[in-house]
C-alpha cells in the first residue's frame, strides 16, 4: 500500500511537491507558533526577573494583585495594590525583619532637548534609592542622591541625555518638569528594558505615593523561611517573595502578563489560520488528483480493488504527505521560531535574547497537527475516489464529473448559515466592546469568518456557476473566452480549485489586516462624534501628558473648561453574571460634559462631583444602577470606594463604561499621566489665539502638543495605523501559502486539459486561442475567488464596524484592499503559466494513434 501511494505520488510530482510544501509550511507555522509562545511565556518571567534582581534584599513583600468576586473567581487587578500603613507596621514588627525599605514606581522621564528620554516601549520609572541598593546597582560615578534636589540615573539614560555627574538635569513627573542635580550614574542589568531615575527615599515616597513594594533585610542569623512564614501568618493579604521571583514585583501586573502571553496568543491565531488553510490546500489538491485519475481508479476497481482499498490508497497518499511534510515542517518550524524571536525582539514586541523553550512538545504537536490535518483533508477525496464506478474505465470519452453531492451542498448551506447567524447574533447583542456582551459579540463576528469560508468553499461550484452565468456574455466574445466558459461549465471543480484558495487568501488577509485598522477607524468615528472640545493637549504616543497640565491650562483666561482623561479599569461588585471589570475613564467631573458630547439618559451632569460617578447606559442596565444610587466599587489597585451615580449617559460602543473623578482615580495609578487634556474655550475666543496662549503656558512640558479639533482627529487616525507590520508579514506568508494552493490547482488541472488543447489545435485553434482559453479560465476563477473573498471579508468587517459604531460602513482601507486583490490576481497569473506552457506545446498529432 505504501509502495502504491509512493508510486502514485511520484507520478504526479509537481502537484505532490506543492502539497508537500503546503504541509511543510502549515506544520512549520504551528511549530513556530507553539515554540515562540512557550519561549515568550518562559522568557516573560525570566525577563521580569532580569529587569530587577533585588538580590540585595532577602525578602520582598507586596499585596497580591487579584480580587475575589462574590462568585469566588479571582480577577486580576490592573494596578499593583499599595501596602497600607498598618501592613507596613506589622511587617516591620515581625521578629527577624531587620530593615524595611520601600518603593513605588512612578512615571519619571529625564528631559533632553525638549523630548523624553525613553518612549512607549522603553518606559522610564522613578524609584527610591533603596531599590537601587537592594538590586544592587553599581555606581559607576558619583554618589547616591541626597535630599530633594538630586537624582541618580542609569548609564543608558545619562548617555542619551549627554549628562555627567554634577550636571543639571530636568526630570518630568506627573507634577511637571523639575530640575535636579545629577548625583550619580549607575550600571544596572535591566536598564535596556526600562529606564530608572533614582530619588532619595523620602522624595520618592512623596512623588510615588504609598509603596507597592517592601524590601526586607533580615536580622543577622534570622532564617528567611521562618520570617516568610511569620509574615504570612501575621499580616493577611501580603505576599512574600524570595529568590529569583523577587524582581517580578517591580513590574505592573498587566506588564508581566503582556510579556508572558501576548505574542503567543497572536501567533496561535495565525497558526490556526495556517492549519485551516492547510486542510483546504490538501483537500483541494487530493480532490483534483482524484478527479484526474478517475479512469485509473476505475481500472483498479475493475481489476478487483475494493472501494476500501481505493480509499486507503488515497488516504495513504495523504498520510505519506503528512509524515514527510510534518517532519520537514517541524524542523523548519524550529528554525522559524528562532528567527521569529529575533524578529519580534527587533521590533520591540518581545524581550531580547529569549532562549527557545518547549521545542519537543512543539514538534510533537506540529507532527500531530500535520498528520491529523492531512488525514482530515484526505477523507473527502478518498471517499470520492472509492465511489468511482469500475465501468468508468470502459468509457471511451472523458466523462464530466457527476453533479455536486447533496451532502456537500447541505453542509455548505449549513456552514454559511451558521456564519450568518453568528453575525446576526452579534448585531443583536450590540454592546460596548469593553463589556462581556461586547467581547462575546466581537468573538462571534470573528468566529463567523471560518464558517463563511467553509460554506463558500463547499458551495464553490454553485457560486462559480452563478458567477459564470453572469460572466458568460463577456467571455463569449472571444473564442478563448467561449472555450473557457464551456470548459468551466462542464467541470466547475477546476475553477473552484483555483477560486477557493484565492477566496481564502482574500478573506483571511482582509479580516486579519483590516481588523486593527477598523478598530481604530471605528474608535475615531465615535471619538469624532463625541469630541466637543475646541483644543486638545496631547502628548507623545503612549506617553500622554503629566496630570499637572489640566490645572495649568484651566488657569488660562481663554479656557472655559478643561478636563484631563486617563484610562483604567475599576471593579464593581455585582449581583448578576456581569464580570466585575468596568473600563473607567478618569475625568474632571465638573467639566467633562462640556468637552465631550455625552447625551444624558437620566440624572444630571450638575450632580457629578468628586463623590460621584457617571455611568454609561449599557453599564447602568447591566448592573441595575440609576441616578442617585450609592454604589460600592474598587479602584484599579483594589482599594474599595463608594460613590453616588450622578448621571447615566448614552455612550458609544468604544467609550468607557464609567466616568470616575480623576482626583479619585489618579492616586491609585502608577502612571499618573493623562491620555489627553480637552479644552472648551470661552465664547468669542479665537481658537488660534487660545492655542498660542495655551502652548506658551505649556512650553516646558516635553512633547505636549496643543491641537485644534481637526488636527487632533487627524493625528489620532494616523497614530492608529502604526505597528502592524508583523501582521503584514504573517498575511504575506498566508497569502503565499494560499498562492501555492492556487498554483497547485492550476498545475494539476492543466495536466488533465492537455488532450483538450490538442483537440482544439486540431480544429484550427492557434496558440493565442489556447492561451486565451487558459487566460480567460484562470482570470474568471481568480476573479470569482476575489469576489467571494471580498464578500466574506466585507460581511465580517461590516458587522465589526457596526458593532463599534452602530452604523453601517465598510471598514476597508482602500489601498491595502487593492494590494490584496492585485496579489491574488498575480498569484493566479503565475499559476496560469504552467498550463500555458502545456498549451503552447500541445500538438494535435498527439491525438492520433499509431505513432
Amino acid at each position: 500500500m505504501v509502495l502504491m501511494a509512493w508510486r502514485s505520488l511520484r507520478s504526479r510530482w509537481v502537484a505532490t511537491l506543492a502539497s508537500l510544501l503546503a504541509v511543510v509550511v502549515g506544520t512549520a507555522l504551528v511549530v513556530a507558533a507553539l515554540v515562540v509562545g512557550a519561549s515568550a511565556e518562559a522568557g516573560g518571567a525570566a525577563q521580569a526577573q532580569r529587569q530587577w534582581r533585588l538580590d540585595g534584599a532577602d525578602l520582598v513583600v507586596r499585596v497580591g494583585a487579584s480580587l475575589e468576586t462574590s462568585a469566588g473567581l479571582a480577577v486580576a487587578l490592573n494596578e499593583r495594590p499599595r501596602l497600607s500603613e498598618a501592613q507596613l507596621v506589622a511587617v516591620a514588627g515581625v521578629p527577624g525583619v531587620g530593615d524595611l525599605a520601600l518603593d513605588a514606581g512612578f512615571s519619571a522621564f529625564v528631559v533632553h532637548n525638549g523630548t523624553h528620554v525613553g518612549n512607549g516601549a522603553v518606559r522610564s520609572w522613578g524609584h527610591s534609592w533603596a531599590t537601587a541598593v537592594a538590586d544592587p546597582v553599581r555606581l559607576t560615578s558619583g554618589a547616591a542622591p541626597q535630599g530633594r534636589d538630586e537624582v541618580a540615573v542609569d548609564e543608558a539614560v545619562a548617555r542619551a541625555a549627554g549628562r555627567s555627574v554634577g550636571d543639571r538635569i530636568d526630570v518630568l513627573t506627573a507634577t511637571g518638569v523639575h530640575q535636579y542635580r545629577l548625583s550619580g550614574i549607575v550600571a544596572r542589568a535591566g536598564q535596556e528594558s526600562a529606564y530608572a531615575v533614582f530619588f532619595d527615599n523620602s522624595t520618592a515616597a512623596e512623588l510615588g505615593g504609598a509603596p507597592t513594594v517592601g524590601l526586607v533585610r533580615l536580622d543577622p542569623g534570622a532564617s528567611a523561611a521562618d520570617v516568610t512564614r511569620r509574615i504570612r501568618a501575621s499580616v493577611p493579604g501580603v505576599e512574600v517573595l524570595s529568590g529569583a521571583d523577587k524582581g517580578a514585583t517591580m513590574l505592573g501586573p498587566t506588564e508581566t502578563e503582556a510579556l508572558a502571553g501576548g505574542m503567543g496568543q497572536f501567533i496561535g491565531t495565525m497558526s490556526a489560520c495556517a492549519l485551516l488553510i492547510t486542510v483546504f490546500v490538501i483537500a483541494s489538491t487530493l480532490s483534483l488528483s482524484v478527479a484526474q485519475r478517475r479512469r485509473e481508479l476505475a481500472m483498479l476497481r475493475a481489476v478487483g480493488a475494493s472501494p476500501g482499498r481505493v480509499r486507503r490508497l488515497v488516504l495513504g497518499e495523504a498520510a505519506l504527505l503528512g509524515i514527510v511534510g510534518g517532519l520537514l515542517g517541524a524542523l523548519a518550524g524550529v528554525a522559524l521560531a528562532a528567527a521569529g524571536l529575533r524578529l519580534f525582539a527587533g521590533a520591540g514586541l518581545m524581550p531580547e535574547g529569549l532562549p527557545l523553550a518547549g521545542v519537543p512538545s512543539g514538534v510533537l504537536a506540529g507532527l500531530a497537527a500535520a498528520g491529523l490535518t492531512t488525514i482530515v483533508a484526505g477523507s473527502l477525496p478518498a471517499w470520492r475516489a472509492s465511489q468511482v464506478a469500475p465501468s468508468e474505465a470502459l468509457r471511451a470519452v472523458y466523462a464530466p464529473p457527476r453533479r455536486l453531492g447533496a451532502a456537500r451542498t447541505v453542509l455548505g448551506v449549513v456552514s454559511a448559515a451558521v456564519g450568518v447567524l453568528l453575525l446576526v447574533t452579534s448585531a443583536v447583542l450590540q454592546s460596548p466592546v469593553n463589556t462581556l456582551k461586547g467581547a462575546i459579540a466581537t468573538s462571534l463576528i470573528f468566529t463567523a469568518a471560518p464558517f463563511l469560508v467553509l460554506g463558500a468553499s463547499l458551495l464553490g461550484p454553485v457560486t462559480v456557476g452563478v458567477l459564470l452565468r453572469l460572466a458568460a456574455p463577456v467571455l463569449g466574445r472571444t473564442a478563448g473566452g467561449f472555450l473557457a466558459a464551456r470548459s468551466i461549465a462542464a467541470d466547475r471543480r477546476r475553477a473552484v480549485g483555483l477560486a477557493t484558495p484565492l477566496m481564502l487568501m482574500v478573506a483571511v488577509a482582509c479580516v486579519l489586516l483590516f481588523q486593527d485598522w477598523a478598530t481604530f477607524a471605528g474608535k475615531s468615528r465615535n471619538y469624532e462624534q463625541r469630541l466637543a472640545a475646541e483644543l486638545v493637549v496631547a502628548g507623545p504616543h503612549m506617553l500622554g501628558v503629566p496630570s499637572v497640565v489640566e490645572q495649568r491650562v484651566a488657569t488660562v483666561p481663554h479656557v472655559a473648561a478643561a478636563s484631563g482623561t486617563v484610562s483604567s479599569w475599576v471593579y464593581a461588585t455585582s449581583k448578576g453574571s456581569a464580570p466585575p471589570n468596568v473600563e473607567a475613564l478618569g475625568v474632571n467631573p465638573r467639566t467633562i460634559s462640556e468637552v465631550l458630547d455625552l447625551p444624558t439618559v437620566s440624572g444630571s451632569w450638575k450632580s457629578f462631583d468628586n463623590e460621584a460617578v457617571a455611568v454609561s447606559e449599557a453599564t447602568a442596565t447591566e448592573r441595575g444602577w440609576r441616578p442617585g444610587v450609592m454604589i460600592d466599587y474598587r479602584l484599579p489597585d483594589g482599594v474599595p470606594a463608594k460613590a453616588t451615580v450622578a448621571v447615566v449617559y448614552r455612550g458609544d460602543n468604544t467609550l468607557a463604561g464609567m466616568l470616575v473623578p480623576r482626583r479619585v482615580l489618579l492616586p491609585h495609578l502608577r502612571d499618573q499621566f493623562d491620555t489627553a487634556v480637552y479644552l472648551r474655550l470661552r465664547p468669542g475666543v479665537e481658537v488660534a489665539a487660545a492655542r498660542k496662549t495655551v502652548s506658551e503656558k505649556l512650553a516646558d512640558i516635553p512633547g505636549a502638543a496643543v491641537q485644534n479639533r481637526s488636527v487632533h482627529l487627524d493625528t489620532m487616525s494616523q497614530q492608529s495605523t502604526g505597528d502592524n507590520w508583523i501582521v503584514y508579514l504573517f498575511v504575506a506568508m498566508l497569502a503565499g501559502y494560499a498562492g501555492i494552493a492556487a498554483i497547485n490547482a492550476l498545475i494539476g488541472s492543466s495536466v488533465g486539459q492537455a488532450p483538450l488543447f490538442a483537440m482544439a489545435r486540431l480544429a484550427g485553434a492557434k496558440t493565442r486561442h489556447v492561451l486565451g482559453w487558459i487566460g480567460a479560465e484562470a482570470g474568471f476563477a481568480a476573479l470569482s475567488g476575489v469576489v467571494q473573498g471580498t464578500v466574506i471579508a466585507a460581511a465580517v468587517m461590516i458587522s465589526y464596524g457596526y458593532l463599534l459604531t452602530s452604523e453601517l460602513w465598510l471598514p476597508f482601507p482602500g489601498g491595502q484592499y487593492l494590494l490584496i486583490c492585485a496579489t491574488a490576481l498575480l498569484v493566479a497569473a503565475v499559476g496560469a503559466l504552467a498550463p500555458a506552457r502545456l498549451a503552447v506545446s500541445a500538438q494535435s498529432r498527439d491525438l492520433t494513434q499509431g505513432r
Binding site: 468509457r395 471511451a396 470519452v397 472523458y398 466523462a399 464530466p400 473564442a479 467561449f482 472555450l483 464551456r486 470548459s487 461549465a489 462542464a490 467541470d491 483538450l756 483537440m759 482544439a760 489545435r761 486540431l762 480544429a763 484550427g764 485553434a765 492557434k766 486561442h769 500538438q843 494535435s844 498529432r845 491525438l847 492520433t848 494513434q849 499509431g850 505513432r851
Partner: protein, 271 residues
C-alpha cells in the same frame, strides 16, 4: 546521418506478376492530384534507436476519390497520414496539398490550412467534451475560420441523423453518434480533403459500416476527397483505391477493391 544504416531500401520489394505494377497506365490520364507526396521520408529517433517510418513515399490523392491506406502494424500508414495532413514534419521529401508545399508554411499558416482546408476523423472521435455536438461542428468558425453554411450544416445533420442530438455533449452520445458528429465536423467547413485514421476502430461493424457509408456518400454526392488509414479489409472495400504500405514504402495499389481482394493482398504482404 543515421540514414546510412537504413539505405532506404525496403526489405521487401514489389513482387513481379503477383501485384499490379506501381504506376498504372491509367494514372497518366487522370487530372492533377489534389494532394501528393514526393520522396517522403520520416525517421524517428537517432543513432541506434533510429526507426525509419517512411521511405521515399510517392503517393497521389485524386480529387473526389476515396483512398484507403493499408498495411501491417508499423508499416507507416499513420505516419504517412500525419505528414500529409501537416500534423507531423517529414524528415525529407515534399507534401503538396492543393498546390501548396506544406514544408514552406509557417506553423500559423499550417494551422489555418488545417482549419480551412482539411478535415479529420479519428478512432477516438476527439470531440471536445465540454462542447455540445453543434458547438463542436462549428468550432472552426469560432476559431476564425470561414462561416459554416447553415444550409449545408442542416443538410449534414439531417443526413447524419443528428438533428435531435445537436445540443447533447459527447458523453451523452453513443460511440456511433459521436463518430457521426466527428465526420460531420470534418465535412462542415467543406474541406479539400478529409483524413480519417481508423475511423471505425472503436465501433461495432454495423455502426462502423454506417460511418463508412457516410464517408463514401460524401465522396459520391459532393465530390469530397477522403484518405483513410485502416487495417480492416471490409472498411477498405468502401474506397475507390487501396494503397498498401510495408516497412515505410508503398508496395502495391488496388483499384476498385473488394474485401476479399484486399484480404488476399494483405495475406501476401504479411507473408
Amino acid at each position: 546521418m543515421g540514414l546510412g544504416i537504413y539505405p532506404c531500401q525496403p526489405k521487401w520489394g514489389p513482387m513481379a506478376g503477383s501485384l499490379e505494377p506501381r504506376s498504372a497506365p491509367v494514372q497518366a490520364l487522370r487530372p492533377a492530384p489534389i494532394a501528393y507526396t514526393v520522396g517522403l521520408r520520416k525517421v524517428y529517433g537517432e543513432g541506434e534507436s533510429q526507426v525509419l517510418a517512411l521511405c521515399n513515399v510517392d503517393i497521389q490523392l485524386q480529387a473526389a476519390e476515396f483512398t484507403a491506406i493499408m498495411g501491417p502494424s508499423g508499416s507507416g500508414k499513420s505516419t504517412l497520414l500525419q505528414c500529409m495532413a501537416g500534423l507531423d514534419h517529414p524528415t525529407g521529401g515534399q507534401v503538396v496539398v492543393e498546390g501548396v508545399d506544406l514544408g514552406r508554411l509557417s506553423p500559423g499558416r499550417l494551422t489555418d490550412l488545417r482549419r480551412d482546408r482539411l478535415g479529420f476523423v479519428f478512432q477516438s472521435f476527439n470531440l471536445i467534451p465540454q462542447l455540445t455536438a453543434l458547438e463542436n461542428l462549428t468550432l472552426s468558425e469560432r476559431l476564425g475560420g470561414a462561416r459554416v453554411d447553415p444550409a449545408w450544416l442542416s443538410h449534414l445533420t439531417t443526413a447524419f441523423g443528428l438533428t435531435d442530438r445537436l445540443h447533447h455533449r459527447p458523453a451523452q452520445l453513443s460511440g456511433g453518434q459521436q463518430q457521426r458528429v466527428a465526420v460531420a465536423r470534418a465535412l462542415a467547413h467543406r474541406p479539400a480533403i478529409v483524413f480519417a485514421d481508423e475511423p471505425t476502430g472503436n465501433l461495432d461493424s454495423r455502426t462502423g459500416a454506417e460511418v463508412l457509408r457516410l464517408l463514401r456518400n460524401a465522396v459520391a454526392q459532393t465530390g469530397q476527397t477522403v484518405a483513410m488509414v485502416t487495417h480492416d479489409p471490409v472498411a477498405a472495400a468502401y474506397a475507390h483505391r487501396v494503397v498498401f504500405l510495408r516497412d515505410g514504402a508503398v508496395v502495391a495499389h488496388l483499384a476498385s477493391p473488394t474485401a476479399e481482394a484486399v484480404l488476399q493482398r494483405l495475406a501476401i504482404l504479411e507473408g
